[in-house]
Symmetry: C2
Subunit: 142 residues, 2 copies
């Protein structure tokens, strides 16, 4: 069981812009900070802007910043949006002989809800409540 | 978030042999029943034998059967074994700048535990407690 790279990058972008909140952050500096591709980040930032978590500013001195306070950004909602709400085993796509008669799907759905419930008890602010984390995230270019 | 094909096949093998419990099942018939590859099933059956969930019999009239009663096979334990206990985001392999300072891992580990806790409340017998399921799983070759 793994979360996608998309979810991983989504969370890392939020961490970065939340800590560097006294200015706009750029895709290039975030990509460089984490050593990840700008192209992947672009999709992540697009999705986060669309969902209202980020605000983007165009132009030479453009960049991104959070559109809400970190305490108002729910980690469960962010992960759910990044992962999508696909079932853990997608019976329909598997063309399984048991589809529709099997109790497994309901049990897996219950387990997935329990997973999301735990994440939903945490905000972005909780994720940042570690002095080491803040220290590392304050960009040297900022 | 998805469970692996390996986990999917693991569960399906257990369902099949549990219902056809009056005889030995063969890899070939299970592969045919589900329309999946014998080669993939071989690995799954090997792992289930190693963990003591299946008993295998060699030879012309050989095959597999459950080694424990369905009520004694815990779905959480089966899924955990099939999936492995990898973290949901493997920070070490990602070489993330925040590794060691980040609160996310603990939160994800809590959520993963909540997920497994739900599965651990169910046995293989619970998964089969559906008359339609039994009906479909009784092999026509049996």
């Amino acid at each position: 069981m793994q979360l996608s790279r998309f979810t991983d990058y989504t969370l890392r972008v939020l961490f970065y812009v939340a800590i560097n909140d006294d200015r706009l952050s750029t895709l290039n500096e975030i990509a460089e900070f984490y050593g990840i591709s700008v192209e992947h980040l672009r999709k992540v930032v697009h999705a986060l802007s669309k969902s209202g978590h980020l605000k983007t500013f165009r132009g030479k001195h453009g960049g991104i910043r959070l559109n809400r306070a970190p305490a108002d950004i729910n980690i469960g909602a962010v992960v759910l949006q990044a992962e999508g709400n696909e079932p853990l085993i997608n019976c329909a796509s598997l063309d399984c002989t048991l589809t529709g008669a099997c109790n497994l799907q309901r049990t897996l759905a219950d387990a997935q809800r329990a997973f999301m419930d735990v994440l939903s008890r945490h905000s972005l602010a909780d994720m940042l409540a570690n002095p080491d984390m803040k220290q590392r995230l304050i960009s040297k270019t900022g």
